[in-house]
Amino acid sequence: MRITNHPLLGPQPPVNLVPLEVDGQVIWAKEGEPIAAALLAYGIRLCRTTKRRGEPRGVFCGIGHCTDCVMTVDGIPNVRTCVTPVRAGMKVTTQRGLGQWPNDH
């Protein structure tokens, strides 16, 4: 959920929303915000599932240190979504295990 108004920071400045494709669905994100923030704005918290047990994982540290938030972005696996800025038309998918590189089989 976006915080539209804040007692100290004031209302959110108007921004350009751009489309972001998440597992085939389009959501609207602020250009330049971390992918994870765009997902949280829609209540999407699952980033990946683990390799062996398929357990769900999401954001933990929010500053690029723990790698729990990695997803596949434009075909590239293991992208830390908490520190990777949104660009218009990006395609993000929930990652399974270690993910697949574009030319992997």
Binding site: M1, I3, H6, L9, L40, P56, G58, F60, C61, C82
Partner: protein, 366 residues
């Protein structure tokens, strides 16, 4: 790999300590490059929307993010070169290896100041890996910097200043905080921070812990329980709370990998978050021309990080031949020491003195 040689000082980390170190050194005539992994420097100051403690000399009463803005523009005015989106992955003597976007290169400087900060500790309990369990600092980043709520109903684990402040800031952002649990029988944070959230109707449960978080794919509820003097849960005291988020504010650990790599000597200081590089009063490590400042040198607060940064900046500038009046060292030391008084500061002052003593012992032996 491309090489660059700098007749000056490289500062690693653009939080309060690094910004202040860079600014201070540059103002004394040193050429300074400030390396930071983020697109914009400021570190964790950028999400600190509360007013800082201290005195006027420490910028007391100013909100943290404004201090970051001020320091960044002062650094630019003083001629500090900012290398953003650059990750330092190794340090040997005074040479940094770094990765800027996809380009690796190395940077050799006359002196290095490490101001890499700290990372949040995790806590192990069933369900602790579910999406929705996150560091309190992570929640604070999303709420205050990116301005999205990580969840609507939050349990805060940890009654230190981080837990109390972030609980308050989650309320300000419009989330509901169902309570704060603290394993100790008392809160380690300031009572004034606790008072703010109590007035706002948030219960604080001391001698309590989190037993388990549950949910399908993400957190939907959490069970807490009272604990005895040995931190064992008391049967029958369990209670389950409907929350979608569990924030962990259970301490920080210095991010000291580069100092380890470089070969700095360390000691363990639980009161400061773990292993810290031995350092002098002037923030010099056991390696010549390698300095530390801020949480890497022992987890304290942003205000102490600023002062340690100032001292490291002065010392590094002096070490490479810039004229630095001795009175400036004294003034900075005095500002720093004034923050380490009273029941909260005394212990940190004691431990810091111990670190300085061990640093001096190392110097004698080698």
């Amino acid at each position: 790999m491309a090489q660059r040689s700098l007749k000056g000082i490289a500062v690693v980390g653009g939080g309060p300590a690094g910004l202040m170190a860079a600014l201070t050194a540059a103002r004394h005539g040193a050429a300074v490059v400030l390396v930071d992994e983020n697109a914009e420097p400021g570190g964790q100051l950028r999400k600190q929307i509360h007013k800082f403690f201290g005195s006027k000399a420490h910028r007391a009463g100013v909100r943290g993010y404004r201090i970051a803005q001020e320091l960044i523009s002062d650094c630019t005015a003083a001629g500090v070169e900012l290398l953003g989106q650059s990750v330092v992955f190794s340090l040997r003597e005074c040479t940094l290896d770094l990765l800027q976007k996809d380009d690796a290169f190395n940077l050799k400087a006359d002196a290095i100041i490490l101001a890499t900060g700290a990372s949040e500790n995790a806590l192990a309990f069933p369900g602790c890996t579910l999406p929705g369990v996150m560091g309190a600092g992570a929640a604070q980043t999303f709420v205050n910097l990116h301005r999205v709520l990580p969840g609507r109903r939050v349990l805060m684990v940890g009654g230190g200043n981080v837990g109390l402040i972030v609980a308050y800031q989650l309320l300000q952002a419009g989330a509901e905080v169902v309570g704060v649990v603290e394993a100790l029988p008392y809160l380690s944070g300031y009572q004034v921070h606790a008072a703010k959230i109590k007035r706002a109707g948030v219960p604080i449960w001391t001698s309590h812990t989190v037993l388990e978080a549950r949910g399908d794919q993400e957190v939907q509820e959490v069970t807490i329980a009272a604990i005895d003097d040995h931190f064992h849960p008391l049967p029958g005291s369990e209670r389950t709370l409907a929350v979608d988020t569990v924030c962990l504010a259970v301490g920080l650990t210095p991010l000291a990998e580069l100092a380890w790599q470089a070969g700095c000597r360390f000691c363990y200081q639980g009161a400061l978050g773990g292993y810290v590089p031995l350092h002098s009063d002037n923030m010099e490590t056991t390696l010549p021309h390698v300095y530390v400042a801020g949480d890497i040198a022992g987890v304290e607060e942003a205000s102490t990080a600023l002062e340690e940064g100032a001292i490291a900046g002065l010392a590094a500038a002096a070490a490479i031949g810039c004229p630095v009046p001795i009175a400036e060292f004294d003034a900075a030391q005095e500002r720093l020491v004034s923050l380490r008084k009273g029941p909260f500061g005394d212990i940190r002052q004691l431990v810091k003195s111990e670190i300085v003593k061990r640093w001096a012992d190392c110097r004698v032996v080698e």
